[in-house]
Symmetry: C2
């Protein structure tokens, strides 16, 4: 997917040698036409639609590192995370802006690969870069704002879950976390086949935002759908939805889809990874049971109804023998950026 | 303007002690209601309008420092810069998103003051914060994306200047640059009155984006207006407009408005500061002469017609004795972030 023909600069050239004009020239081919050259970009929102806007900041050493993520994958992942937020709101993408802070000693080829990764992910979902800013810093930082549009009655919110709703997960959870572990310590994946390793690593490096769910919901006349994406983990998403909606949930532990590759990676931690791993960028949605059943049937083996929304504020996890187990849904998990 | 009643935290408390949940709780009061709590914010764009989007990244040590800019002013200036870009496109603000990267050892009070400064500037222009992201980093970075709306026939672009157009500047240039010099070395301002010093320093710390120009243009039925803001300096703006429009300009040096305070700061460098100082966040607009004359009459003493757009690609600066002088319009000025 990395098109090396677009890399005319020698690997050794540094950002500092180009100047801002040179950098802008370098970046321009990766932006949508007619969006550069003014103080802002003009974007058309369909007149009957609402605008949805979401922002993510990724920092070198916090959200990515050369050890586990190539610049191409930093680009892909940062775009995917933002498009996933749009999908979680029910919105189709209109474009992104990219605010970059770069150390002067960064190789130009790093920047090019970043943009190629962003462009490839954006192109897959029919959208592109409409604006941005570029400045020097001591640490590489990628701040992306994604813009989307959604018809008012198709907005997906965390707060709209109702007792009786089925809880749908749109795909496997835990793979991204396992992929990262393998990247950090390849020994951990030595017992796996190359295919299994690739599945888990790809989940980390090239997550696929679930914008494909939106036309399906339209097709199924889904009506009210609550939910969010699972960027901070499946358990966190369920907790957030329950908290926002003032409801509880019954989760059937054995119905949480586990990728066979994740199970082979470590059967003892597979469920825990699926619940708390994070960064799978799947959707966790609640909707009336019949719609949920049709959606899952359309999505295939990795999607599932994993439980039901209940009255009250308790989240109960049940195993196959119908024993209730308390899994520690730590409300703080995923929120430790500053104390880690 | 700084409301100290909103500062319940002791000065010594650090970002790292709050955790992300605590930080979100702290920030929430500064955001518009109903915008927090989902994966994205929902914003209404008037159905007949286009969306305008613009992004700026400000980095500690590059764009601001504790020496010259309080956290309140960092907030004010970063918002003002983005609203100025909207004004330069002819767009009314709909809201901003704030992507923050913060060192764990940053005092909480710094963050609060930043948000109060952002909120005060936004409130003055009838808008607010609709979303954002927050993460740790080794360097404080503020990435703002501003959203605005504009009727298609009122979009201001750099590329729309035509020969014969009058060139309007909406206010004094050079004051911000002089204010920064005084902040960096107070000795330089010792010969000024306190009022003069305050005028120059306020221009740097609390720039006023010229959103007030937009209803005036509507009132005057201005029609086609070209232009941009002068964030990189008045000279740079004229060069950019000429380049984008494929035209030249005749500038009358003596018609460039110079604040008496700037003249008293240093009469020898006042014009140079006005041309190349930057960060005044005024507008440089071109439009037919009769409209320009009415606009300047409405704006008062600090606005002026400083010249005319010409055919050809030359920019000529003329003095009061009608002698042509070549001022060095260095195309690279303002683009040296990486080589400075």
């Amino acid at each position: 997917m990395i098109d090396n023909s677009q890399l005319p600069t020698p690997n050794s050239q540094l950002i500092s040698s180009l100047g801002e004009q040179g950098l802008l020239k370098l970046i321009q081919p990766y932006c949508l036409p007619h969006t550069i050259g003014d103080d802002g970009a003009v974007v058309r929102v369909r007149s009957e639609c609402e605008l949805v806007v979401t922002t993510d900041v990724l920092v070198d050493g916090v959200h990515f590192s050369d050890r586990t993520t190539s610049p191409y994958d930093v680009g892909w992942r940062s775009v995917a995370a933002n498009l996933s937020d749009l999908a979680a709101m029910g919105a189709q993408p209109l474009g992104i802006t990219v605010g970059l802070s770069l150390p002067p000693a960064l190789p130009v080829v790093w920047l090019e690969q970043l943009y190629i990764g962003m462009r490839d992910c954006l192109a897959r979902y029919g959208t592109g870069i409409v604006g941005g800013d570029l400045t020097r810093s001591t640490v590489t930082t990628v701040a992306i704002t994604a813009l989307g549009e959604v018809l008012p009655d198709r907005i997906i919110r965390r707060s709209m879950a109702q007792p009786g709703d089925a809880i749908v997960v749109t795909g496997y959870h835990g793979n991204s976390h396992a992929g990262l572990q393998i990247l950090l310590d390849p020994e951990l994946g030595k017992h796996l086949t190359a295919t299994d390793r690739e599945i888990l690593i790809a989940a980390h490096q090239r997550p696929q935002p679930r914008l494909d769910i939106l036309p399906l919901l339209v097709e199924l006349s889904a009506g009210r759908v609550a939910g969010m994406d699972s960027s901070d983990g499946l358990a966190d998403a369920i907790v957030q939805i329950c908290r926002s909606s003032g409801v509880g949930a019954n989760i059937e532990r054995n119905r949480i889809p586990i990728d066979p590759a994740l199970d082979r990676f470590d059967p003892n931690t597979a469920l825990e990874s699926a619940l708390s791993g994070g960064e799978d960028f799947e959707l966790v949605l609640t909707m009336p049971e019949p719609i949920a059943a049709q959606l899952v049937a359309r999505l295939g083996v990795d999607a599932a109804i994993v439980g039901r929304i209940t009255e009250g504020l308790e989240i109960v996890v049940v195993d196959s023998e119908d024993r209730s187990t308390s899994i520690n849904f730590d409300l703080q998990s995923g929120f430790q950026h500053f104390s880690r």
